[in-house]
């Protein structure tokens, strides 16, 4: 593997057939590949998540990150679009699932695709990745420190975020959860509750909770970055993708 890739901004059909912006990275040194939908964190469709998207392509997977806030502020800087989406109470779950479905279909239709697609999400995207896996035929679901997969937010939270663990029976693929022991959203009690629910639903899953790490330990441009947890987490992710999407 040479890690060669092509990356570009494209337009895809999202929820309701809306054309939305997406960042697409595809390996150029393999004949066939699995794929992954990358769900950005609450701060939006930013440079660091584009870097993550390219990393998947460098490791042999087609990766596509839909801009979930494209409708709120087309063409705006990612942090401005994220601020507007936050002020509006976040984005509806139904729209998120529609956008991930659009990305999944785009990836499956690639002539070089092996037909298998996983999803990964960070922060708010962790919950959204789990939700997408409950409603869409994804071969693998990766949740990186997603809050409120279990546990109900306090009533005063203006974001339209509700727990989605009740939909776990819909999961068709394996689940990988990567968490920080020092995180409060989700805390270890919540990740244990999620593990219990997946066990009860008969689902295959792997959870890793890293000591000395909190929320957003994968973000190399933030003080929350924890190199050991991030390196081990990336190894887990690529091992997971090898067994779920090839």
């Amino acid at each position: 593997m040479t890690h060669d890739l092509n990356a570009s901004t494209i337009s895809i059909a999202g929820h309701g057939g809306d054309q939305i912006e997406a960042y697409f990275a595809v390996p150029t040194d393999v004949d066939q590949h699995g794929s992954i939908v990358v769900i950005h964190h609450l701060p939006g469709y930013d440079e660091s998540t584009k870097e993550i998207t390219r990393r998947f392509a460098a490791h042999g997977y087609a990766a596509l990150m839909p801009n979930l806030y494209h409708r709120e502020a087309p063409g705006a800087d990612p942090d401005d679009a994220a601020a507007i989406a936050r002020n509006n109470g976040g984005i509806p779950d139904e729209r998120l699932v529609g956008d991930v479905e659009g990305a999944m279909k785009y990836l499956k239709a690639l002539s070089t695709s092996n037909g298998k697609v996983a999803s990964i999400g960070y922060c708010s995207g962790g919950r959204q990745s789990f939700l997408a896996g409950c409603r869409l035929p994804l071969e693998g679901v990766i949740d990186c420190y997603g809050a409120f997969v279990v546990g109900t937010p306090p009533a005063e939270f203006p974001l339209r975020v509700t727990p989605v663990v009740g939909e776990a029976s819909g999961l068709t693929g394996e689940v990988l959860g990567l968490f920080g022991a020092e995180d409060k959203f989700p805390d270890t009690a919540q990740t244990e509750e999620l593990a219990d629910a997946l066990r009860a639903a008969g689902k295959t899953f792997t959870f890793r909770t890293y000591e000395n790490a909190g929320h957003a330990f994968f973000s190399p441009n933030r003080p929350s970055y924890r190199v050991e947890a991030a390196n081990e987490g990336w190894d887990e992710i690529f091992a997971f993708l090898a067994r779920t999407v090839g």
Partner: protein, 92 residues
């Protein structure tokens, strides 16, 4: 952690954005991960223009002590202003 907790309010304000002055309609205040300020968490203020037309935003990220000092300074400035001037409102 991502607190998600966000205070939102409607405002009547003008703000100078990267594209010049704009009439603003909304604001968010929250304590969460900053985009640029070098700390795990910060107090964030977004002043936004929403609705028809072009969206706009001015953002601030600061540590908790700065945010409290700013909030107190705003209240002091309003307290010291003559009451007769505080209702000096002209519709946009």
């Amino acid at each position: 952690m991502c607190t998600y907790q966000t205070e939102t309010l409607r405002v009547r304000a003008s703000a100078k954005t990267a594209r010049g002055w704009a009439n603003m309609t909304d604001a968010s205040v929250y304590f969460d991960h900053p985009v640029h300020f070098m700390a795990n968490h910060a107090l964030m203020i977004d002043v936004l223009r929403q609705g028809p037309g072009e969206t706009a935003r001015v953002g601030l990220e600061m540590d908790a002590a700065s945010a409290r000092a700013l909030a107190e300074a705003i209240l002091r400035a309003l307290e010291h202003a003559p009451a007769s001037l505080l209702d000096d409102s002209v519709a946009h």
